[in-house]
């Protein structure tokens, strides 16, 4: 489903907070703040997760020179049970809150909803974004942190990061959301939780294709098409899918993936980064900055999410995936 925003809501401020390991990220210099303790000096990983979200929102209000009372909506999501880190952050922030779950695609789905609220006139300022904390998410979906299981080369490393933006009325000095596509849920029967890229690539393919078709655009109309956290292997699969559907190699150069690039070529991270915070951290720091400086004029951000739970995996269900896309422009 493609939405075209007539009022072109703008992204007025952005903030990314990340954990200590994210110093190794190639996007490190774009982050607003990096903490030394991945628990943010809290007692549990989940509390640290929550604190990270609050910090990102505080940076946003500071940057926009507003306070929490001026913000109408807070849209956030993460991957922990019932999204408690977001819920608890919302409790501290005291802003009207909508919790969203699109797995790792929440970074984009939250921006879509807040843009809709802005377009409706229901919202002056809305904070949207997503976060993930490595230790809290790994234990949720896979094994205990210190468990010595071998991960295959397709496995990805959940990034510790929170990326948030302030969405408000159109302002030509800031990047604007002109269109969005809410993705379908695609499932090609993949069951391997250590190969998320392979499960999610078809969803990204589906959403990007739908967006381009409906908007009557081609790859070359964009400076960049960036997927969320397909990882190195998933990106290759997606490129192959597009190549088979007739996209030329030079056009495929425009297709990049935040997760695949996040930790550079460091092999310790296997196929790259993943998690809701991965796409949020790259989109809401590097991409926004590049748009603001005018290096990019038009980008398509397509975040993918694997909609599984540990329970569904153990019951032998395959992994349904989704992908949401937003089209950002800079005048």
């Amino acid at each position: 489903m493609v939405i075209v925003f007539q009022s072109k809501p703008s992204i007025l401020a952005n903030a990314v907070v990340a954990g200590p390991l994210e110093k190794k990220s190639v996007f490190y210099s774009y982050f607003d703040s990096v903490v030394e303790d991945e628990r943010w000096n809290q007692k549990t990983n989940e509390q640290g997760h929550s604190k990270m979200i609050i910090e990102a929102c505080e940076i946003i209000t500071k940057k926009a020179n507003i306070n929490n009372l001026d913000v109408d909506y807070f849209l956030s999501g993460d991957l922990v049970n019932q999204m408690t880190p977001s819920n608890f952050a919302a409790r501290e922030l005291a802003i009207s809150f909508i919790g969203l779950f699109s797995a790792c695609a929440t970074s984009v789905s939250s921006v879509i909803i807040s843009s809709l609220l802005t377009e409706l006139g229901a919202s002056q300022y809305a904070i949207a974004g997503a976060a993930s904390q490595h230790n809290a998410i790994e234990r949720q979906f896979r094994y205990p942190i210190e468990y010595g299981g071998k991960k295959p080369a397709t496995a990805q490393w959940t990034a510790t990061a929170a990326g948030y933006v302030l969405v408000g009325k159109h302002n030509p000095e800031y990047p604007s959301v002109v269109a969005a596509t809410v993705g379908k849920v695609v499932d090609y029967g993949d069951t391997n939780p250590f190969h998320m890229g392979g499960a999610m690539a078809p969803a990204a393919f589906d959403t990007i294709k739908a967006h381009l078709k409906k908007r009557n655009q081609k790859f070359q109309d964009y400076d960049l098409i960036m997927t969320g956290d397909l990882g190195k292997v998933g990106l290759k699969i997606l490129q192959t899918m597009f190549a088979q559907s007739g996209i030329k190699p030079e056009e495929l150069q425009l297709l990049r993936d935040a997760g695949a690039e996040f930790y550079g070529e460091d092999e310790a991270f296997l196929a790259g980064a993943s998690g809701a915070g991965c796409s949020a951290a790259v989109y809401f720091s590097y991409i926004i900055q590049q748009l603001k400086t005018g290096r990019f004029k038009r980008v398509l951000l397509c975040a993918t999410g694997a909609l599984l739970s540990p329970l569904s995996f153990q019951q032998g269900e395959s992994i349904p995936c989704t992908a949401h896309a937003i089209e950002l422009t800079m005048e």
Partner: protein, 151 residues
Amino acid sequence: MQQEQYKNLEQQVTPPTPYLKNALKAFFVGGIICTIGHAITYFYIIFFDFTENTVGNPTVSTMIFLSMLLTGFGLYTKLGQFAGAGSAVPVTGFGNAVISAAIEHRTEGIVLGVGGNIFKLAGSVILFGVASAFFISLIKLILVTIGVVQW
């Protein structure tokens, strides 16, 4: 695109599992861990009053103690990533499964967290160990009773 078509494409692009490399790594690391265990049996036999029959317990406990140190200092994950089954199959891997779960769930308290989750991963090993011991001894008892075999 059909599901099967996609499966093909995915398989072509995904790097294949390095079966031989994995097997060799598992062999060498597993062999080394067992050799260390073997050395510990000699240690207990020579310096303490243990025979080959009774030395199993102290050896296994010592190996699990070493596993606790490696797990706690975050080294067992590195070993596991390199060795695969080579570090999972020895009893140190069982120790790692129990200890990592215990460390992980400390934040949920000692009773509900550590107590409730300590066998989250290793529980299946205990289940299958005890259940198979039960059924095998049952089978053997039946065979002994009908006079096919002797104890």
